[in-house]
Symmetry: C2
Subunit: 106 residues, 2 copies
């Protein structure tokens, strides 16, 4: 259920490559994106395997949201996160696969 | 002709995605990469359409070189630059095409 607590999400046509790369250059944010990419289901903000404080995580989610990489929505009191994969792939073909794939390098 | 003035170039197997993204997050460095990608020939350090000082450009070339994106070599007194495309594509499949392609977005 989306409510008016749902944060704003940008139209990907207005998101610049600069904004996207600034989001993806951070290793914690790439971990978040990688875990969303691997997951069968959307992940709550507390459900990621990242070693940062809650407030730092909230910052990272905001940067990813503003770069058009993730969508956040509420179910009850839980804020859930999902990759905007189809929209993102249309706007930046191949970029997400390349970054997530490269993140698996030994 | 390569001489002992030729700077060191990393083995791409040892280059991290972090290093690559830190190189590509800078818009001037993306311009350099994009112009090399578009060019039929290698480009001398003074031959790029970038609005930065020579010393700043030298810094950008070094970052790109250390990230495995470009190879620099001398011909006489001219330092020339070439993309390490085949090697880079093998190490980071799809990443260069995605970034260069996205740079053409309106």
């Amino acid at each position: 259920m989306e409510t008016d607590r749902t944060p704003d999400h940008p139209d990907l046509r207005g998101v610049t490559l600069q904004k996207v790369l600034e989001a993806l250059v951070d290793p914690v944010r790439r971990r978040i994106v990688g875990q969303l990419s691997d997951a069968a289901d959307d992940i709550s903000c507390g459900g990621f395997d990242i070693s940062v404080s809650k407030s730092t995580a909230t910052h990272h989610f905001r940067v990813l949201r503003e770069a058009g990489l993730i969508r956040q929505y509420y179910v009850g009191t839980a804020r859930l996160n999902t990759l905007r994969r189809a929209e993102f792939d249309e706007a930046f073909p191949g970029l997400l696969d390349a970054v997530v794939g490269a993140g698996l390098r030994p």
